[in-house]
Amino acid sequence: MLIAKKLTKIFNNGVLALNEVSLTVDKGEFVFLVGASGAGKSTFLNLVIRQEVPTSGAISVNQQNIAYLKKKEIAYLRRCIGVIFQDYKLLPQKTVYENVSFAMEVIGTKAKVIKPRVYTVLELVGLLNKAHVLPSELSGGQQQRVCLARAIVNRPLLLLADEPTGNLDPDTSWEIMDLLSEINKRGTTIVMATHNREIVDGLQKRVIALDRGRLVRDTPKGGYALET
């Protein structure tokens, strides 16, 4: 599903964000990407969705090398990847329903397909009764659920989550994790960058640790730290 080979990213200001990272994520896996701030987790996710271009090395999603995609192909790559952000990135002027349906509209889905699928997804994340309210009227946990609904509504093969529980309290964080686990069980591959030690230790999934841009650990069923 996701293969990186000696992936290196050096920013224009000379910062080495990723240093020859090689890894493979298989279809249906749930992988935690851990490390301190500045370890390279977000840079790695940005390379997967082609928000950044690698300085050297190769990266492929679903057997397609994405390092050298044309502009239009980037849009098509992103249609098979869902993304969840720490700051939710919801459109404040659109309702919950519109924020989710928007992701389908922009890829040209027919209106008759959009409506039932958006309601199904909103039901899955438990927000059916909030479909027509604005994000500002929702709690942080509910906003993250909208973000999650938007990320999965196009049935992506791969779901990237960048600190999805970063702004949430422990109970709400677990609710989000339960949803992610449910989505993973349905076959979606998930790569989640996180600082949340409790969640990583509690779920005992595959853990990939980065430190100053280098891959320092890849444990099939591990915890946040090496000794766990």
């Binding site: 849009a75 790559l77 992103r78 249609r79 993304v83 990135k89 992701a103 922009v106 890829i107 196009n154």
Partner: protein, 292 residues
């Protein structure tokens, strides 16, 4: 991206929503387009009227061609003159008619009482707008039987220079006004796009193509451009009609195009400029924010 009707209505709906949701910025952009196009239209009116004035002056220019006394084939020469490029009309004035008109100029005094009429036969030539009087003079001189050609040579030369100056100055002013308006419009639309950069970023991240992101903004720009142009047009047309009405008594000295005569040019120019400014302004404003 080929635009399907379904997509067009979606984009139009999004564009209208965008205009309403960002109404303050939209009104600002529209206001600036209105002011810019008003100035542009003002220059257009001035240039068009100067052109009209010079055209009228061209209509006044005549060439008088005198024939040698021995000439008997006046009709043939008249035909040759009519066929020359730049000649609008040819009027034959016989020596007798010449004498009558000359006497009229001198209060009907009989100028040639006991003498034989010394005036030669002549032709009066009026010119088309595109005529080149000097080239025409050379062609006329080449016709056998022509004795002399008289026309306001200095006046023609002065008019030629004046017309060129007016046109060049008018075009430069129009061009500079156009650039200034485009610059302001791009900056204003850039502010509306900046205010919505998050929306653009999200669209790009969920897999929208550049074309998909661009269309609603383009339509917004076009709608703003057309509304701004429409408002400028309304102000100019009403203002100009009022001005022409107030100056109608001076029409003899200050010939102005009527509102009806200038309406089509003004409407087509302003609306197409509004379309261009809005559309092109949005297009270049968006470029930076599409790099997500």
């Amino acid at each position: 991206m080929p635009l399907k009707p379904r997509s067009f209505f979606y984009f139009l709906h999004e564009a209208l929503l965008g205009l309403v949701r960002n109404r303050l910025m939209s009104l600002t952009a529209m206001g600036i387009i209105t002011v810019g196009l008003f100035l542009f239209g003002l220059f257009l009116l001035v240039t068009a009227n100067l052109q009209y004035f010079t055209d009228l002056a061209w209509g006044e220019i005549e060439l008088r061609v005198f024939l040698k006394p021995a000439v008997t084939n006046q009709a043939a020469i008249g035909k040759q003159l009519s066929a020359l490029p730049g000649v609008q009309s040819v009027t034959y004035i016989s020596k007798a008619e010449g004498a009558v008109s000359l006497e009229k100029m001198f209060n009907n005094n009989h100028l040639f009482l006991d003498e034989e009429n010394p005036l030669p036969d002549a032709f009066n030539l009026t010119l088309t707008k595109t005529a080149d009087p000097e080239a025409l003079t050379r062609l006329v001189t080449a016709i056998p039987g022509i004795d002399e050609i008289v026309f306001g040579q200095d006046f023609v030369k002065f008019m030629e220079i004046a017309i060129r100056l007016v046109m060049v100055a008018g075009l430069i002013l129009l061009f500079l006004t156009g650039l200034a308006v485009l610059y302001i419009v791009v900056n204003t639309i850039q502010l509306t796009v900046y205010a919505r950069r998050k929306e653009i970023e999200i669209m790009k991240l969920v897999g929208a193509t550049d074309a998909f992101v661009r269309w609603p903004f383009l339509l917004e720009g076009i709608i703003l451009g057309l509304l701004g142009a429409g408002l400028a047009l309304l102000l100019l047309r009403e203002g100009y009609t009022y001005l022409v009405f107030r100056l109608q008594h001076y029409r003899r000295f200050l010939p102005l195009l009527t509102g009806k005569e200038i309406n089509l040019t003004l409407t087509v120019s302003l609306l197409s400029m509004g379309l261009f400014f809005g559309g092109f302004g949005s297009h270049i404003s968006l470029k930076r924010y599409l790099k997500v």
